[in-house]
């Protein structure tokens, strides 16, 4: 059965694919998705620098043959994500002056707006959670009251067959699984994948939490599919954490996220990437927002050795809106690359992207953004902006905004800045008694405030601020 070819990818091969299919309880149509992706996978090589999306990503040191999935989790312990302390203890840090009589933010939950509940997740309550390690789900649960309302949440292995009507139309159909080697590898070999389906009209007040962990040298190929029916509402917090640090075996994440926001639905989606600094991170992520649907999508990235992330939003129905937030902090020799797409397919949609990055050490951050407006998408309002703060002279940031507009009645703008921390700001703060480190942290926190102000989930804001604060060195 083994196909002993000259292929250097000993682990991710046809034999493995068949083993996965034989041992999994996914329906046959889902196995067909794997096989189709595998066919594409074997025809592709690693992306090269001639590819526009990869030209600023150096994957020469990534050795595909070095990686293969583990038969069982090396350790059942799930690495602690950034949100763990806040979620477990439920301590909402209402410690900022701003939190007193805070005004209602535009992307706040309708629940909160209606005054029926506090901010989602207040008190650390979760609607559901799922954790995996090295590509194996180790625990999952969903509030039974939500299950009774028809909410589906848990491992794809258990749920895909029984909820094919709701999930099959979207399963690996949102992202392009053929676009490159990593996307195809993910679609063929994904494991520990999870699904969330919220039926029309169901609003989930508390967040759902999905964490994918890895041990040193581990592999994670987990997939997340989120589908919100018409008028549904949910908050999904996904995290990745663990793996090895620089100089160890490291780790390999080859993941994908698919999101469908139904008509008039509202989703707050958060992806926090906090791998250790030896991990290779490749992720294809795409959301489709239907008419009058709203999406607030926040990416936070602090970890990994090298990241290459595609974050696409398609505004597919009239009046859809998406707010995209990015918070990146890099240090050492980390190299993070983001390709974002705001694709306006329908008229009268709004998209607003704000990525902010702070760079320390010799790290490098690349953002390449595109707003694409189809001919049909009149009255588009599109915005993209990337601000970077350089905390060292050796760090490097590239911002490459782009517009591709075919409609004539649109408003599309973009902006990018790159700046340094001003020594005079630090002195001013020190003259008021703040230590050099405290001053640096405050200035950097201030830099991120604009994007934090947009994130309407206090735990996420606080966790990111705290994690970033903890990594900032003294700025001379």
């Amino acid at each position: 059965m083994s196909t002993a070819t000259a292929s250097p990818r000993a682990a991710f091969d046809a034999a493995l694919l068949e083993r996965i299919i034989a041992s999994s309880s996914l329906p046959s149509w889902a196995s067909d998705v794997r096989r189709a992706a595998f066919d594409r996978f074997v025809s592709l090589g690693l992306p090269g620098r001639r590819d526009e999306s990869w030209m600023r990503t150096d994957v020469r040191l990534f050795k595909p043959q070095a990686w293969g999935p583990s038969a069982a989790p090396t350790s059942p312990t799930v690495p602690e994500g950034l949100l763990a302390p806040a979620i477990l203890s439920g301590d909402l840090a209402a410690d900022s002056y701003a939190d007193f009589d805070r005004a209602q933010a535009p992307f706040a939950s309708q629940h909160a707006a209606a005054g029926s509940a506090a901010a989602p997740g207040a008190g650390g309550k979760l609607a559901g959670r799922l954790a995996s390690v090295d590509g194996h789900v180790v625990r999952h649960e969903l509030d039974p009251a939500l299950a009774a309302k028809g909410v589906v949440f848990g491992p794809a292995d258990e749920l895909l067959a029984s909820h094919a009507d709701a999930l099959r139309p979207h399963w690996f159909r949102v992202i392009d699984t053929g676009c490159d080697w990593f996307a195809a590898a993910h679609a063929a070999f994904h494991s520990a994948s999870s699904v969330l389906y919220v039926p029309p009209g169901v609003r989930i007040a508390d967040p759902l939490h999905v964490i994918a962990g890895m041990s040193d040298g581990g592999v994670d190929t987990s997939h997340v599919l989120v589908v919100l029916g018409e008028g549904a509402e949910a908050t999904v917090l996904t995290e990745t954490a663990g793996g090895g640090a620089t100089g160890t075996a490291g780790g390999f994440h080859c993941g994908g996220t698919e999101i469908v926001v139904g008509k008039g639905a509202f989703l707050r989606m958060v992806n926090l990437q906090n791998w250790n600094t030896g991990v290779w991170h490749f992720a294809r992520q795409k959301a489709v927002v239907q008419a009058s649907g709203r999406l607030q999508w926040t990416l936070g990235a602090l970890g990994s050795r090298l990241s290459q992330v595609a974050q696409d939003v398609a505004l597919a129905g009239r009046g859809a809106s998406a707010q995209v937030n990015g918070v990146m902090f890099t240090e050492g020799r980390q190299h993070l690359v983001y390709n974002t797409l705001q694709h306006h397919e329908a008229p009268s949609c709004t998209s607003d992207l704000l990525y902010k990055g702070a760079l320390q050490g010799k790290s490098r951050l690349v953002w390449r953004g595109m707003i694409k407006v189809d001919k049909a998408a009149q009255k588009t309002d599109g915005y993209q902006r990337n601000d970077n703060l350089m905390l060292s002279t050796e760090a490097r940031a590239d911002s490459i905004p782009g517009l591709e507009i075919e409609a004539d009645d649109v408003r599309c703008t973009h902006g990018a800045t790159s700046g340094r921390v001003d020594a005079e700001q630090i002195f001013y703060a020190r003259a008021r008694g703040l230590s050099a480190e405290e001053a640096a942290r405050l200035v950097v926190a201030g830099f991120f405030q604009q994007v934090f102000d947009r994130i309407t989930i206090p735990q996420v804001r606080e966790a990111l601020a705290k994690a970033i604060g903890g990594r900032i060195h003294r700025i001379a």
Partner: protein
């Protein structure tokens, strides 16, 4: 009586910026509870003195000393302290041009500042002053200064008008209650009513506890803060000291008499102007 109070003692202070000597031997002693005025033409070195007292890294002290001498006679070497240690030791500088820190709320900034200045040994990460207590105190102080509490939610000096910046500096002075404060042109940018209010406020904040050095080109700020001494700086030196009448004279008549009386300092002023011009080219 004055000898019993804690003093800020500056002796023979020489300060250079980028290798260029700006202060050429400054002597000044300020006791707590005293108000001193410092006047002098543009570029004479007044702000430089303020920065040197606060420890700005660009201002290199090449000779002389700055010490806090407490009533027991114990001397604390200010020059050995980092800027934040100086603030925690009770020194304060109201900046001629305050820096903005976008994204950082004035209230949050001040809460860090107040906590540190009241617990000089606080390490970062240790508890801040309790929010409720801080907020009540801040509200009370803002009311005394006729400031809208909404102001504290704005980002530090970000988009503030000239007058708002100066009022924010006075608010910080009020919250931090230092032992010694240098107010560098805290009256500039304020309208006539605001200057009067500032003058009253500073007098109230200072009380009998604070030693204040008021750097000014005017005399209104001195209305409620009668200086024990008025000092005139020229060419990087304090060339003359007198009473409140000296401030009035300089404000009305300018520095002609001073330049004529101190030709060496006037020559130094010329030389400084020239080298500043040369540096700009």
């Amino acid at each position: 009586m004055p000898s019993a109070a804690e003093q800020l003692v500056i002796k023979g202070l020489h300060v250079s910026v980028e290798g260029q000597e700006i202060l050429k031997g400054v002597d000044l002693t300020i006791g707590r509870g005293e108000v001193h005025a410092l006047m002098g033409p543009n570029g004479s070195g007044k702000s430089t003195l303020g920065y040197a007292i606060m420890g700005h890294p660009s201002y290199e002290v090449t000779a002389g000393s700055i010490e806090i001498v407490d009533p027991s006679g114990a001397r604390h070497d200010v020059l050995a302290m980092e800027p934040d240690q100086r603030a925690r030791a009770g020194l304060f500088l109201a900046f001629q041009r305050p820096m903005s820190i976008p994204g950082v709320r004035l209230a949050d900034f001040l809460r860090h500042a107040v906590t540190n200045c009241r617990n000089p040994d606080r390490k970062e990460g240790q508890e801040l002053m309790p929010m409720r207590e801080f907020r009540n105190e801040l509200k009370a102080k803002m009311a005394e200064l006729s400031m809208d509490t909404e102001f504290a939610r704005r980002y530090v000096n970000d988009g503030f008008s000239g007058g708002e910046m100066k009022r924010a500096e006075i608010l910080q002075l009020a919250m931090l209650r230092p032992k010694f404060a240098v107010l560098d042109e805290t009256d500039s940018g304020l309208d006539a009513d605001a200057v009067r209010l500032a003058s009253e406020s500073i007098a109230r904040i200072g009380g009998a506890e604070m030693g204040i050095l008021i750097i000014t080109h005017h005399e209104q700020l001195l209305e409620h803060n009668i200086p024990l001494q008025t000092h005139v700086m020229l060419g990087g030196r304090i060339v003359e000291s007198g009473g409140p009448e000296l401030a009035r004279e300089l404000h009305k008549l300018g520095y002609e008499r001073i330049r004529a009386a101190y030709p060496d300092a006037a020559a130094a002023e010329k030389a400084m102007e020239e080298s500043a011009k040369a540096a700009a080219v």
